[in-house]
């Protein structure tokens, strides 16, 4: 994973150097602008009831794609753009047992554009998620699950096409009642990453 991150940071540096001489006043993304990004974070457990005992945790890696649906709307602080896309989620659970999880989640994102290069956003995602942690902990009995995510973050546009992102997500993983027990596992995910727009 470190090698992937090093490669990604190298690409980011090259992109920033290439665009440094072509700056305009502010990033502007018309309809159909696409975004590809890579986000990494560390999953931390939330035991919301007394029946939740597992302290699952581990790193997460999320490459993503999105497409902007409309021009900026609104005239106040809420002026922004919606994008829809998809994300591939990989989580390596290091606790309580070394296991893995992969998922594919369509996602919806609203970006506030009123602050020029500093752009907060909120995002929601959900989709199927497979993990071999299921069946090995008391909260989840099946390997096939669903993952739901809601979070917020902020993008800092270092160039008009490249942004650095930091933020927070809440993750919920459960199997929608297809097999009992299904208490679900809940986690916090502080993350950082970058995105390219083209």
């Amino acid at each position: 994973m470190l090698r992937v991150l090093h490669l990604a940071l190298l690409m980011l540096s090259l992109s920033m150097a290439h665009e440094a001489s072509a700056q305009t006043l502010e990033p502007y993304f018309p309809i159909g602008t696409q975004e590809v990004g890579l986000t990494a974070g560390y999953l931390l457990p939330h035991r919301l009831t007394k029946d939740h005992v597992t302290k699952q945790q581990g790193p997460a890696l999320m490459p993503s794609w999105g497409i902007i649906l409309h021009e900026p709307v609104g005239n106040g602080w809420y002026r922004g753009q919606t994008s829809v896309g998809a994300e591939f989620v990989y989580i390596q659970f290091r606790e309580p047992i070394l296991t893995h999880g992969v998922g594919f989640t369509p996602k919806l994102k609203y970006t506030f554009v009123a602050l020029n290069r500093l752009r907060p956003y909120v995002e929601f995602a959900g989709g199927p998620f497979w993990t071999d942690l299921g069946g090995r902990i008391p909260e989840e009995s099946s390997e096939f699950n669903f993952i739901l995510t809601a979070g917020f973050g902020v993008s800092w546009f270092v160039t008009n096409r490249t942004a650095l992102n930091v933020g927070y997500r809440f993750h919920h993983i459960s199997n929608a009642g297809t097999k009992m027990p299904n208490l679900g596992i809940n986690s916090s995910l502080p993350f950082g990453g970058f995105a390219f727009y083209f």
Binding site: I67, V84, P106, K107
Partner: protein, 252 residues
């Protein structure tokens, strides 16, 4: 000999592949519709004496988008000058800053253009459909098209050398419809380009129809002895005959 189960699985794989190809292909489609109620004249040309024509000086160009003033665009200056030049209605076209304008004693026409753009991005509908498309794991992409509406109204104020002025208006509008995977800035540019082109053509048709207002009357009297030139407006593209495109332009 293959087993029946193998054949059924093979057919299912082919069917699934075909469905995927159809979903992606249909999800990439996009088209532009130009729609206005009034049809313009099909052809409009006259012969005038070449010496009766006067220069045109392009003055200010103002752009308003949904009622708000916008930065000027050099591209619009160039497009206006091009369609005016094609009419042969004026002897020379002057663009301030690029050419030395005629002296105040000469006879010339001054033009001021206002472009009023109306944009309806259907942002709420796009966000809602994006949510539904995402929730369906993108399978509903081919059946949920997105829309973007654009309208332009051109107002051209022309003032003659003797102070008389006239105002000409032309308008056009259209809608770009596209599926999620076909969303690109190019389709919006294409819509705006087509709508503006129709409005500019409609405007020049009106100018050519009213050509006598811009010509020197003394020279018109010597029409039989002087060299003549054909003044005509560019023809608009075909209506609804090419690739599902329907085009009409209003002229008022």
């Amino acid at each position: 000999m293959p087993k029946p189960g193998w054949q059924a699985g093979h057919v299912a794989n082919i069917t699934a592949s075909l469905c995927l190809v159809f979903t992606v292909a249909a999800g990439c489609s996009r088209w532009v519709e130009i729609h206005d109620p009034v049809e313009q004249a099909s052809s409009n040309q006259i012969s005038v004496p070449a010496l009766a024509r006067v220069p045109l000086v392009l003055g200010s160009i103002q752009i308003n988008r949904n009622g708000s003033a916008q930065n000027p665009q050099l591209e619009l200056d160039r497009r206006l000058l091009t369609v005016l030049e094609e009419t042969n209605l004026f002897s020379t076209l002057y663009q301030p800053g690029l050419m030395q304008p005629p002296s105040a004693d000469d006879r010339f026409v001054t033009a001021r253009l206002t472009l009023n753009e109306t944009i309806e991005p259907h942002a709420g509908g796009a966000a809602w459909r994006g949510l539904v498309i995402g929730a369906s794991m993108f399978t509903l992409t081919p059946v949920l098209p997105l829309e973007y509406e654009y309208g332009s109204e051109l107002v051209l104020d022309l003032t003659r050398w003797d102070g008389q002025s006239k105002q000409y208006r032309a308008a056009s509008s259209g809608t770009a419809r596209y599926h999620l995977f076909g969303a690109t800035p190019l389709v919006i540019d294409e819509l705006k380009g087509q709508v503006l082109e129709r409005a500019l053509i409609a405007l020049t048709h009106r100018l050519v129809f009213d050509a006598g207002f811009f010509l020197i009357s003394e020279q018109l009297a010597q029409f039989s002895t002087s060299r003549s030139i054909v003044v005509r407006a560019r023809k608009a593209g075909p209506r609804s005959s090419e690739a599902g495109l329907s085009q009409e332009t209003a002229l008022r």
